[in-house]
Symmetry: C2
Subunit: 111 residues, 2 copies
DNA sequence: TTGTTATGTATAAGAAACTTATGTATGTTT
DNA sequence: AAACATACATAAGTTTCTTATACATAACAA
């Protein structure tokens, strides 16, 4: 993860949301997808990504399938059942977080 | 700071934005204000808040004035000139961050 | 043909931001 | 008298990241 500190803590949610949408993805693919969506602003570093994927797997939220494509190894990740349930929760938290931050940046008159 | 990891990294921006708006605030006041704005969802812990304030002060972004009110000490913080400039940058980053996260949660058809 | 870039995964050392726990002190409410 | 609210502070530990390094294959450029 790079840039303005703000992204700290959001990596897991990003990974899980992308997997929910795409079905399955491999690590490098995730970094490229995020770069594309954020127009180059957010570059997930390998040092952040791979430990995060391993941890989510260890927690039983992701499953792995190893494949060889064009003579290169790929590890495809997908959400487990538990992971799918947890993703719903995390996305709800993310939406609340965004709302709260917007309320801080652009305060309502009632405060 | 408490809750869903997501708030990690946003504390400094929150502090600076509130100070920009209010002119000056003391630590405890900041925690109450944030609790109010987020409807109790975000509780900034003292262990996070006070070191953050001290660091922003050390970086020259905040100034302090100590006052005694009702026989209790208060340390009022306000933005320095440098802090005011920096706040503009951080708020721009925050808005970009929010946009990017929204694009991830609610993807555009073009992806 | 040699170096650079892209693809693909991995880990170790260190930094940064937090949580949790504790401490001090005063005022108010139960 | 005890609990809660106000008000500050710090130390120990955890989590999450950055930075650096490592290995391996393929494509492209000098």
């Amino acid at each position: 993860m790079k840039n303005s500190q703000l992204y700290k803590g959001s990596l897991n949610t990003i990974i899980m949301k992308l997997l929910e949408e795409k079905g399955r993805m491999y690590g490098y693919e995730i970094t490229q997808k995020v770069k594309e969506i954020t127009l180059g602003e957010l570059n997930i570093t390998e040092g952040a990504l791979y430990p995060a994927l391993h941890k989510l797997e260890a927690e039983g939220l992701l499953d792995v399938e190893v494949e060889k494509v064009d003579n290169r190894m790929r590890k495809y990740y997908k959400l487990t059942e538990k992971g799918t349930t947890e993703t719903v929760n995390r996305l709800a938290e993310l939406e609340e977080f965004i709302k709260n931050m917007q309320n801080i940046v652009n305060p309502k008159l009632s405060y």
